[in-house]
Symmetry: C2
């Protein structure tokens, strides 16, 4: 696995710069916007519609939950539950990741089973551990009962079958791609403001690289390649977790109960393979890991060093790396609350 | 009961105008702001803190619901459920009323058992059918675990016991008093723009007065006196519902299963007495009545005419009154989403 990391880093270097390898920087500031797929261009109207849908409980089985119930964009983009409860009363399969900066991801779900954000949204609406709607038709029907939605779909997608499951997922995806946290202290540092992060955080960054964390958690999203650069949408950047099996953490945090991507592919080489998670805003997204078993960032750092590199970190190093990770908390753009269209409210 | 209505209307007339009785107008435009109690003055910082608390699921037993879960301010201020389910899994006792324009009310809960908005909030946080927290201490502790909240409480309420149950309810109340929907079509009409409402709506208004609806649903909030004018905070404006017992609607919609204010006072004269509900934005707050049993506004109009005045309205009259009620939908001010302070997230 380490070898593939090196190839990717080299490819990136070739792709983006003509500087010498000595100047290679594993980290770059987050761009203002993620790559936008050509079949789902952004527009303010589409983003606004997606925001309404994101907050609309009419899209859930119990008519009580909305997307924000498990991915709270007013906070870090996730929720403090290890595994949130879906609108069907069933626990989600895994911890809910943040949706801030989600547009910088090439694959979706922690096991990478969706190859686009739009596909992931479609699955969420029907999953028991999420919105738990019965089927696509039920979702589309619930939108069709709201004239204020139908109007917007027509304006965006034309007269021919505008209210479709496809267009619904496109609208939601457009909103999610607007969720970008720019200008973290670390971004400022990367842009040249050397005092934007503390000396402890700088030492943490150096340790982060030296230990090997940056061999997966690199580049603009601290999660490897982003769409359109070395990797294309749908290509996954995975890593073994735990890489080192048998530490005390496996049992303490049930790290191997969930076998990861093998559940999708059936391929033995995918056992315990997981999508590399972005570390942006990681200080705001406790609890940690696919099962949400680890409650604090300090403990997550210790677990990672052991599970991936069989290293037991000194307390000071854990604190420095944690200080570094705190500098990855970005600025959350001010969002207006959507106004949810009326009617249909009394028909459901 | 009719007699008391007349006295109140007369008092209002004496209180506010020197025009002749012939000029008396039962309706007035909604003021830009509700009366603000002297012991809980508004400030932008307080309103902002209240908004954060309103959207924070850490204040609920299941850490999943927030105030907005049952009082959706992104919509009409309520939810489409007849009785929403609280954070303890228990159904709310009654339908959730809208919180838009809630500051214009003199008593709280449909049976008037709280005499201030602050008191109503305190009860909601602990009620099984609402936020279902164990006790006041647990609520206060959950705030104290979030440094970003503690900072704001100190800035607003000083160093001496700033994070208190009192101050929490004051902050939330300040936010709620900011929720005002001005400039409905009817307000524009009242201000002199005679074509702001349709002829059907005008005829509906006349019918509304003639039938007797306006003897309770009058004045700025279409719900009788507001605080500081004829009535003071804590004084309730109640009416019998059903006033005429025995119509087919009693059984069809279970109108008498809940005996109303008598449950609070034990006084037989309070059987089936209810706080007069505001009709502002009523087109957005289906389903209707204390038990949410009636799904459409048209049906609610029919039920009211029969239950209060033993009148069976012609279809055309129902449609006209409904058209009038639709003109009471106001403008919803654009609100920014709060940013919920981090930390404490991994400790609960």
């Amino acid at each position: 696995m380490r070898f593939s990391r090196i190839i990717i880093v080299s490819l990136l270097w070739v792709a983006i710069s003509s500087v010498s390898i000595a100047d290679f920087q594993p980290f770059q500031p987050l761009p203002a916007h993620p790559p936008i797929p050509s079949d789902n261009l952004m527009s303010p109207m589409k983003t606004e519609l997606g925001k309404q849908l994101f907050f609309d409980a009419r899209l859930s089985k119990n008519k009580t939950m909305n997307c924000n119930s498990c991915h709270n964009v007013m906070a870090g983009g996730s929720v403090p539950q290890a595994k949130p409860t879906g609108a069907g009363g069933q626990l989600a399969q895994r911890n809910a990741p943040t949706l801030w900066n989600v547009g910088f991801t090439t694959i979706y779900f922690l096991d990478g089973r969706a190859t686009s954000l739009e596909a992931a949204i479609k699955e969420h609406l029907l999953a028991d551990g999420a919105m738990a709607m019965a089927n696509e038709e039920q979702v589309v029907d619930s939108i069709k009962q709201v004239p204020g939605y139908v109007e917007q779909f027509v304006a965006l997608y034309g007269d021919e079958n505008p209210v479709s499951y496809d267009n619904l997922s496109k609208s939601l995806a457009a909103y999610l791609r607007s969720l970008v946290t720019n200008d973290s202290a670390f971004d400022q540092y990367l842009r040249g403001k050397k005092d934007a992060i503390s000396d402890a955080a700088k030492e943490g960054m150096n340790q982060f690289i030296e230990i090997g964390c940056a061999s997966c958690h690199f580049w603009v999203n601290m999660a490897g390649p982003i769409p359109g650069l070395a990797f294309q949408m749908g290509e996954g950047f995975y890593e073994l977790f735990p890489n080192h099996l048998g530490s005390e953490y496996d049992a303490r945090y049930h790290l191997t109960d969930d076998t990861g991507r093998i559940k999708v592919t059936g391929d033995e080489s995918d056992r315990y393979m997981w999508r590399v998670a972005s570390l942006r805003n990681v200080a705001l997204t406790a609890p940690y890991f696919h099962n949400g078993a680890v409650k604090t960032l300090e403990e997550a750092v210790k677990v990672m060093a052991m599970a991936q590199y069989k290293k037991r970190l000194p307390k000071a190093t854990v604190e420095e790396i944690t200080a570094f990770l705190h500098t990855l908390t970005g600025q959350f753009s001010v969002q207006t609350m959507p106004r949810l269209p009326a009617a249909g409210l009394d028909k459901q």
